[in-house]
């Protein structure tokens, strides 16, 4: 117990954020009564002026430990630690009390009680910090390579940025080709650029970049290690094609007799058992689908093997796990459409002429199932009238409560497709409202709205029903006419809400990333200030896996994540927190319970003075405290969070009696 230490307490007003609820004066008064404690307050402690005054206060008063009652340690610990460092104190002699997040912000309107709570919280921190010891950060080297998971436009942009700065990048894609959902789009709003024409060059740049190792048809199996040195195991699924021999002539595909549903065309057509997903695919190396291939299923055929001029077909190929070491990881696993068949009233999955927005992209694409002629699935005709239903599954408490961010603009683009391909067709867009808040979005909205034969009905469609002739009837309430309307159409396009792709969940489980409660979008470290960082050091997120967004936003975020990675890799080292476990050898009986509790294998039993005691490897230890909880003797502790400190915190927050200084 360091009874002689002097503690400086800094109370931040945070403007009115804290001081508007907590009576800082009263807190200062109460805390000032504690022996060997000096109190200061500041309107904005984290301002340059606040930090300067903090440094000079620490220096002039000679305090040797500091409690800051302000905001979250997550955002401000580095700021205040730096202040301690400037004042000549070890940065681990700092305790931050979140009087803002945990008190003033949640107890507005209860000023009296919030003030009392703040006093107790500060007292608890004072009691805890008395036992803190100075700790030293450890420096570890960083492997100069990065892993990018997901080969959509975000992953591609991030990989190119990192590779251009001279570092090795492993770009992993689950599918047979990179390109992601953007490769499915025919055009992009609001400029109506041809999607693959702007994406294709980037895909080829990836394939040819000397610093990028492209691993398609591969999945992450496990990630171990930490920022600076992640050991990643990657499963390379068998393509049944030797990548080194294949020249991409695609003769093999022409004669393949087996067919399967085409996932790239979103089940609108069929492909061969040996296939490349689409003509511009990168790499231009086919894949054999083992569930469709006649040889792999029934042991007959082998036509592709006979046709291949380079002998690249290899039916004996097996999945292979490769291991790579990287300093940092970017997750860009993208989005997929919400399963809209669960919105029964829209009839998706029951009626062939109800399609999703992405399916429409394929229907109008020159490399889609109809090679760019718009025909209604099931009816086989050009549509005479089309209904576009916005917010399908989105902004709906029963399905996805959030806005998909792209549906409104996509619906306008889709109206343009239809008018462009079938000029005499009518298009009705059913939308509560059109959200056109983006660069040139409103202008695009105006352009589409003024097209003859495009009508925007300001309401949600309530039901889609099939007519005996195969056409569909849409029911909706029209607020302009103030009555229910029924419209007969040939084709219904649902602008479906988006969720994080299925592989996002698998990757996030491996990396221990957080996710939003609905949609499964990856959680950023801070929604405003750390939008690409995650709670896991060295792991960054970008693109639609991190939240609904359009292409320019995904690309910007990808470059942001890449710049974080480049900063880390070029610095070449990381500093790690020193809050590791430590064994109190006099109390340890060498029972080994902590050894089994440790998930990192960081504890070993060693002999000390003829006795077996536990010993912690400080490089492996992550400081989680599982061993602390398991120890029946109280013999293992996390540094600066000892059992006695937890108890001190508990009793200070509980104790109402006037402060009595402990021995």
């Amino acid at each position: 117990m360091e009874g002689s230490s002097r503690i400086g307490v800094f109370l931040c007003h945070c403007g009115t954020n804290i001081a508007g609820v907590v009576d800082i004066k009263r807190v200062a008064e109460e805390i000032g009564k504690i022996p060997n404690v000096v109190v200061w307050d500041h309107r904005f402690l984290c301002s340059a002026d606040g930090i300067d005054s903090m440094v000079s206060s620490i220096r002039s008063s000679g305090v040797d430990r500091v409690v800051v009652a302000a905001c979250s340690f997550r955002t401000h610990e580095p700021v205040f630690q730096a202040a301690l460092h400037r004042a000549g104190l070890n940065p681990y002699l700092l305790e931050i009390v979140s009087t803002r997040e945990l008190c003033s912000w949640v107890h507005e309107g209860e000023k009296e009680k919030a003030t009392e709570k703040a006093i107790r919280m500060v007292r608890a921190a004072i009691a805890k910090i008395r036992d803190n010891r100075p700790l030293e950060r450890r420096r570890l080297p960083v492997v100069p390579a990065a892993l990018v998971v997901g080969g959509g436009v975000a992953g591609i942009r991030a990989a190119l940025d990192i590779a251009d700065s001279g570092f090795t990048v492993y770009l992993i894609e689950r599918g047979a080709s990179i390109g992601g959902n953007m490769a499915r789009l025919d055009k992009t709003f609001p400029t109506l650029d041809c999607s693959i024409c702007i994406l294709g060059p980037l895909m080829n740049a990836v394939a040819q970049h000397p610093n990028i190792r492209l691993l398609t048809y591969s999945e992450v199996v496990s990630v171990e290690g930490r920022v600076g040195e992640f050991v990643v195991k990657i499963l390379r699924k068998p393509r049944y094609i030797k990548e080194s021999l294949c020249k991409g002539c695609l003769i093999c595909i022409a004669k393949c007799p087996a067919r399967a549903i085409d996932e790239f065309n979103l089940k609108l057509s069929h492909r061969k058992a040996i296939y490349v997903p689409y003509p511009q695919a990168v790499p231009r190396i086919p894949v054999i689908d083992p569930d469709a291939c006649l040889y792999l299923r029934k042991g007959i055929c082998r036509t592709c093997e006979k046709l291949c001029p380079t002998g690249a077909v290899d039916f004996a190929q097996r999945g292979e796990v490769v291991e790579v070491r990287v300093g940092s990881i970017i997750v860009a696993t993208g989005f997929e459409e919400y399963d809209i068949s669960s919105v029964y009233e829209y009839g998706y999955g029951r009626y062939p002429n109800v399609v999703t927005g992405l399916q429409l992209e394929r229907l109008v694409s020159s490399y889609g199932p109809t090679e760019g002629r718009l025909t209604v699935p099931g009816l086989g005709i050009e549509p005479r009238r089309v209904a576009i239903i916005n917010c399908a599954g989105s902004r709906d408490e029963r399905h996805l409560p959030y806005c998909c961010r792209v549906g409104c603009m996509a619906s306008l683009k889709h109206a343009w497709y239809i008018k462009h391909l079938v000029p005499e067709a009518e298009v009705l867009i059913f939308a509560d409202e059109i959200r056109a808040s983006g660069k040139n979005f409103e202008e695009f909205y105006r352009r589409i709205r003024l097209l003859p034969g495009v009508y925007i009905v300001k309401s949600r469609a309530s039901e889609v029903r099939a007519n005996p002739s195969g056409t569909l009837s849409i029911k909706a309430y029209d607020p302009v006419l103030n009555r229910e309307v029924t419209v007969e159409v040939d084709l219904v396009v649902l602008e479906v809400g988006i969720v994080a792709s299925r592989s996002t969940e698998a990757v996030r489980n491996i990396l221990k990333l957080g996710a939003s409660p609905t949609g499964g979008f990856l959680l950023e470290l801070h929604p405003k200030l750390n939008p690409v960082e995650t709670a896991v050091d060295g792991v960054y997120i970008c693109g639609a896996a991190a939240g609904p967004k359009d292409i320019p936003e995904s690309v910007a975020q990808a470059s942001a994540a890449a710049s974080k990675v480049i900063a880390l890799l070029s610095r070449g080292y990381i500093e790690i927190q020193p809050h590791t476990a430590r064994v109190v050898e006099e109390l340890c009986s060498g029972c080994r319970i902590c050894v089994t509790a440790c998930a990192y294998g960081a504890i070993r039993i060693v002999e000390r003075g003829g006795r077996n005691v536990a010993s912690v490897d400080e490089v492996l230890c992550k400081g989680c405290g599982s061993c602390v909880g398991s120890c029946p003797s109280g013999a293992i502790e996390i540094q600066n969070l000892k059992l006695s400190q937890v108890e001190a915190v508990m009793s200070e927050m509980q104790g109402w009696e006037p402060y009595v200084q402990r021995a």
Binding site: L102, V106, P517, L523, M653
Partner: protein, 142 residues
């Protein structure tokens, strides 16, 4: 006026504490009777802390961690907490503590509203509980 309970919440840094902070950021109100302690991981669960808290005058204890199976930042600390908490729960019941005195909850970093509603609920339930009275040694032993 009704009794003012006091509750202590042990929360893990990456999920439950983050949720508590998120509740603050979103200004989700809950009663000020709940005090939050940040631990690295719910796997630091020690029955001793819970018993000590009840013994020293807290009316109820919340232990918050990350959702099983995969959310735990430290591989499986939440399972360690679950095992120990289950044992403790039975033990507390045998000792005569009401079930509302101790709760183990999984609260993800994004579940700010869930944290706030658990806090509200615990304070409400603890208000209805009698103040704990521990027998003196002389009252137990003849």
């Amino acid at each position: 006026m009704s009794r003012e309970p006091r509750i202590i919440a042990f929360t893990c840094t990456y999920c439950a504490y983050a949720a508590a902070e998120a509740a603050g950021v979103s200004k989700l109100h809950y009663p000020p009777h709940i005090y939050i302690v940040r631990l690295p991981c719910s796997g630091m669960f020690k029955s001793h802390h819970v018993l000590k808290a009840l013994r020293s005058g807290y009316d109820a204890v919340l232990w918050g961690g990350c959702h099983p199976p995969y959310d735990c930042h430290f591989v499986n600390g939440n399972y360690k907490a679950l095992v120990r908490a289950t044992l403790l729960k039975n033990y507390l019941r045998q000792l005569g503590f009401e079930d509302d005195r101790f709760r183990l909850e999984w609260i993800a970093a994004g579940e700010a509203e869930r944290f706030a509603s658990i806090a509200r609920e615990m304070v409400e339930k603890a208000t209805a509980l009698p103040k704990l009275r521990f027998l003196k040694h002389s009252e137990v032993v003849d």
